[in-house]
Symmetry: C2
Subunit: 345 residues, 2 copies
Amino acid sequence: MPTIIDVAKKAGVSIKTVSRVMNNEARVRSETRRKVRQAMSDLDYRPSAAARQMRSGKSTAIGMLYSDPSSGYQSQLNHAMMQACSDAGRYLTVGLFDETKRQWKRQLEAFLDRTKVSCMVLVPPMCDSRALHDCLAERDVKYVLISPSREKSGVSSVAMDDKRAAREITEHLLQLGHRRIGHIAGHPDHAASVLRRTGFLDAMEAASGRRGTGAVVSEGRFDFRRALEMAETMLTAEARPTAIFAASDEMAAATYMAAGRLGLSVPRDISVAGFDGAPIAEIIWPSLTTVAQPYGGIARAAVDILNRVEPGEDGEIHTEKNIVPHNIIIRNSCGKPPRHLREAK
Amino acid sequence: MPTIIDVAKKAGVSIKTVSRVMNNEARVRSETRRKVRQAMSDLDYRPSAAARQMRSGKSTAIGMLYSDPSSGYQSQLNHAMMQACSDAGRYLTVGLFDETKRQWKRQLEAFLDRTKVSCMVLVPPMCDSRALHDCLAERDVKYVLISPSREKSGVSSVAMDDKRAAREITEHLLQLGHRRIGHIAGHPDHAASVLRRTGFLDAMEAASGRRGTGAVVSEGRFDFRRALEMAETMLTAEARPTAIFAASDEMAAATYMAAGRLGLSVPRDISVAGFDGAPIAEIIWPSLTTVAQPYGGIARAAVDILNRVEPGEDGEIHTEKNIVPHNIIIRNSCGKPPRHLREAK
DNA sequence: TTGTATGCGTTATCAG
DNA sequence: CTGATAACGCATACAA
């Protein structure tokens, strides 16, 4: 494995200069910089993370907190972050974090002490804890928020556009001819739930000309059992919807089950759409039309921000609010409504 | 942060002695050892991973390969490993690994070069790749296998007893009075599937006195749609089972759906049991009786083996085959069969 | 059984 | 703009 000394020799400069180039410091003549870069790639040089960390006291790894092992969202994001870090030549160090415990502050400090990470990504629900922000700021750790409920000034964030995605998938249903559509919403405290519901209502309003027309909304709270009840209620109402848009794929799965119990077939009798692009959406049958969370794009954007925020300490920190485009995945759970219901308002 | 020097001063010895104590070397007087240990805990000393790694060229972290982000098994194990490592004062470095690509060897070597891990845990399906074993052995990386299909001599392994667990959950069903029980098996190439099926058949045989009596087996292949079909077939057969034991929680969920379509209620008309202890088992309703994989115990055992295999290089390597006890989680998906079917053989 | 001195690959100081 | 040299915390050859 080549070291900084080998690079310095090859480029005919001192190791300090090589170090300067690596760290994107300003005062280096551009030709010198070029020579060093050349030498580095010729030798396939890769700096020793250990030596770097030992000297600077800071790890190059990116830290991430994990609070709920059974959360599909967190584990998907975790995977995407690993991938993004790997692509960017960095590493991800993840720590368990129990936000409910009173020891959380010590827990966090132990994590920072041991890992020496100097930058982190905060995912929901950690990204909404003011105390957590303060603790990080106090220790001078840079961080980026993923899908925060509220933005925070001076801190960059990355998110998808939940409202718009909800609008789009509702429009898809409308385009198929559905006029009476149910929505099983998520937990009202969850920012994304509110956005998804609003997007749904916006699309319904645009189609009918009046807010609320044709829309049937229930609070599912992201809970399977509750969603099951809500779906059953909707499907047994006198004027039952011909399509249901659930705010999560799990709740969409619950809707499948409710439909099954009532002898209704998806998508013949009832169309179902979900949200998240969870594994279950591919697994269940018929496969579920849903909004895929852009985990990869979100992770890449977060790593990218962290890469840029670190070296350039010249002047003030440039923060940004990054919206990552999503995809609607059309699968087999949505069809046209029965003809006699198609144009009924 | 205290360093080895602070500890040495406090204990009144040289740093070399402290180093010896840390690494569990033999030639240290036990009183000296005690003094050093005391000083370490007084100062809340924690060795710098960076310095250690720089000096030795090896990281203290434990490596793990991840191949399928949507695999609940892998992500659960991942989480358990993080926890276990954290408890043992070690770190987990996980790498993506695409076993299908031809570049896998370079991918693995890049991982080893960059992370410098000297020990790893291999989870399914990686633990069954002979080429992977060879590659690791070649680079002198110690590893432990988790739930391998076949044991490998000279390599330790950790697993749960799938056969026994399947037998036990089947016995639970038998005890409730079920005599005709269906089993939706996993993929036949998967070692665990075979064990689970065998355990099921063993229990049925023990109860009836004859192999196969009362048992209805279908190949579900761990696939939702296929399991759905299998369950529908079973439930519409003339002599339908009063209980179904699915080899995975996902397939149990498919069974719920099949039951729903046929107007059958769980557990009143049909009892369902699963296997894995996946998040979905708690989420679906009624909550699913299942075998919980002992992820935590498996991870702890693996880390423990790795902790012991490393320092004691005196003599030959002691390998072990560790079976971790599991738990049957009784929830709400199993009940007594209708009276008239209870004793029917 | 214990201690001393050296070097691992970086970054930072300070002088050119 | 560039370079010589001293740390950083630990492990180990070598010495006692």
